[in-house]
Amino acid sequence: MTQAKPRAKKLPLKERYALLTRDLDWEPSYVEREKLFPYTSYEGIKIHDWDGWQDPFRLTVDAYYKYQAEKDKRLYAVLDSFAQSQGHLGLADASYLNAIKLFIQGVTPLEYAAHRHFAYLARYLEGPAPRFAALCQSVDELRHCQTQIHTISNYNKYYGGFHSWSKMHDRVWYLSVPKSLFDDAMTAGPFEFLISISFSFEYLLTNLLFVPFMSGASFNGDMPTMSFGFSAQSDESRHMTLGLEAIKFLLEQDEGNVPIIQAWIDKWFWRAYRMSALVAGMMDYMLPKPVMSWKEAFELYFEDQMLGGLFPDLEYYGITPPRHVEDAIAEKDHLSHQVYKILHNFSFAAAFTTQTPSEEHSAWLSEQYPGSYDELYKPVWDKHARTEAAGGRIFFQGLPQLCQVCQVPMAFTEPDDPTAISFRTSEFTGETFHTCSNGCKWIFDREPEKFVQAWLPVHQIYQGNCGGPSVPEVLDWYGIQDGDNGEYKGSPDQRSWAEWHSGAPKQES
């Protein structure tokens, strides 16, 4: 037996960490402080002591490199072996990949945006501790973006819809939902960015947004996505901590910060929640083997953990649960169905395919949504199924009207009446602007001069900025290739999948 070696004498973690990070503050003597840190005053947030910032992770650079290199070694080993063994053939079904198409088109670019803008915080925040935390997050987000590109690279070789994700994020209608959200956050000041992305997005909603993707991947045979997802989530816990630390720090610094932060929480909860509607549709409809319904995930990750756990904690500072949260709760039985109906209707113009839920899938939905599905949504799908049995496929003709704020087509219903479309309007400089909900209208009315700038994809098509007036011209400008879009059944992906699996005797392992 070897004896355990006594631990080498060293500075306690906290003290050592303080010397290696906090001690590297920069107090200017030769240039004006306002010139060095020009953006920390215009939002009205007051900071009296930047050293009040706590970072429980206390990660030093050498440890960062060591852990991250180890994580990536594990991850790329999975990617390589999956590619070499043609692991894509073992997915639950090729239609599963629609969820991953949405992911690389909609989420991967957000990782990149976060990477670039946390670099902004790493430059312009005044305290060395939050600057370092932001720098780590900036580098992490680059990791997430790049590992996602590499994970999905293998699927891109065999399936449609993945090939032009970056261009699509800049151009395609449903991707302006996530893009406009991040553009909104990045164009705000540094503190609003912290509250929007670090707190509302990373802490409040990240579990709801990402963990279901990863569990879905695991359940549907997608080991690479599960691996990068959980690997990224381990960084995400640091980012969540940054978000939670940021809000507590800002609230503790000055009483006057509280109403400003509350308004940002109100805005960004709704903004991020509205974007998560796309995830809701994915979870309930795009996974051949569904894991957990949107409603259950919402209850578990948001209602229990956030409303039940976090907000009572924040009450201490005078913070209340986000405005309009009751509308989100009221529509949890409806959100995913309404969103997938939109995607199903307009997938002729999307870089993924959709399909009417199978009988088995429909039975699962019915079980998950006893209060809404059979009455309101099943009849719609039954109608589609009948049309399709007769050789047809219904797509919506024309272009939808988009919400001026969240940019989702206006198809959500009133919180208290799931049969009436919710429709709000605001006047600004003599023009009328349309929003989809109380939450989005409230956001618009607070900053109309910002939201009138929105690059609304449908307006842009009408204005002739998207390749031409006809659908084929627009699709070409979007970078959508033949067969990326429309109905799944009969699509190139579905036909290849059938061919690759035809005549192959299935062996139980």
């Binding site: 290696l20 003597s29 070694k73 790493a122 990791r143 790049q146 590109i149």
Partner: protein
């Protein structure tokens, strides 16, 4: 479940993402290419930055130095995230092992007095210089136009914190495991007359609007400072009983050689750009003329002190 057909190779429909195919044809691409090319958003930004009303979120106008196509530049090291952290994990692991060796044998605590003084009042204070360099590099991480450039700046920014922490750990080791040397070194940084030209210079560089000018101004300092303070003291250290310093300084020399590779390649790309080459060259010459002499002055103040203290020993 197993499928028989898994034993047959299925032909790929495309070898890479469309933007890579558009550039190089449909052939297998490297992970560097897929992780880098055309990743930065290009168009249809929704709102104007409240902190820069006359710019877009991504905009070539954040610098006077331009590339017609930012992806004509490629990092000669081929760094995307994974090779970057893997490379640096090895660097810091080796550094850590060397430092532990030196600590276990108390080789830094027992450095000759003149060397202790050089470390305490010149070398260790440079950790603050490194943290200033982080602020300059990270500006490029946000504002450089094109992922190919921005990711190099990101890695450089993280590197500078790494350098600062290496120097800090040497400082802790020199003091025998406590923070005393770091405290006095910080005082030197703030008050020492020999360090003020450098501190003033870094502050002035930090407030330069053009991220690339800032990066290059710092590079003018680095190009004098690294050879003078690390590799340049090697022989003296080895002959003067301060081999321990040579052992730790080598890691900063290794880092600087790596830093040179991407910056030199970027400067060549700017000069050789088919459209912006002449204007870039004029800017680069102006930057050298503005900051070069300042860098010489700042680094000169340090080398004078080092020479004074070490030559005193030799005499």
């Amino acid at each position: 479940m197993q499928y028989e057909l898994r034993y047959q190779v299925i032909e790929a429909k495309r070898q890479s993402y469309q933007n890579v195919i558009d550039r190089f044809g449909d052939q297998p691409a490297t992970r560097y290419q897929e992780a880098t090319l055309d990743v930065e958003p290009r168009e249809n930004f929704h709102y104007r930055p409240t902190w820069a009303q006359d710019r877009e979120l991504y905009d070539p106008r954040y610098s006077a130095l331009r590339l017609t196509d930012p992806y004509s530049y490629a990092d000669p090291r081929g760094f995307y995230y994974t090779p970057y952290v893997t490379n640096r994990a090895a660097l810091h692991d080796e550094f850590g092992k060397t430092l532990t060796y030196l600590e276990d044998r108390e080789l830094l605590v027992t450095l000759p007095e003149a060397w202790r003084s050089v470390l305490g009042s010149v070398v260790i204070p440079l950790r603050h210089y490194e943290s200033g360099c982080q602020l300059v590099s990270v500006t490029g991480a946000r504002f450089a136009h094109g992922t190919s450039l921005a990711q190099c700046c990101t890695f450089a920014a993280f590197d500078r914190i790494g350098n600062a922490q290496m120097l800090s750990r040497v400082g802790i080791a020199v003091a025998g495991g406590v923070g005393d040397t770091l405290t006095t070194a910080k005082q030197e940084w703030l008050d020492g007359a020999h360090l003020q030209p450098l501190r003033r210079l870094v502050e002035e560089i930090m407030v330069v609007d053009d991220w690339a000018e800032g990066l290059l101004a710092i590079d003018h300092v680095d190009s004098l400072l690294f050879p003078a303070m690390y590799a340049g003291l090697d022989e003296k250290a080895l002959l003067g009983g301060a081999g321990a310093y040579s052992l730790v300084a080598q890691y900063l020399t290794t880092w600087f050689a790596d830093q040179r590779r991407w910056i030199d390649a970027l400067v060549s790309a700017w000069r050789g750009d088919p459209e912006h080459g002449p204007s870039n060259t004029a800017h680069l010459d102006r930057i050298a003329a503005t900051w070069g002499p300042r860098a010489e002055e700042a680094v000169g103040a340090l080398t004078a002190v080092v020479a004074g203290r070490l030559d005193g020993v030799a005499a």
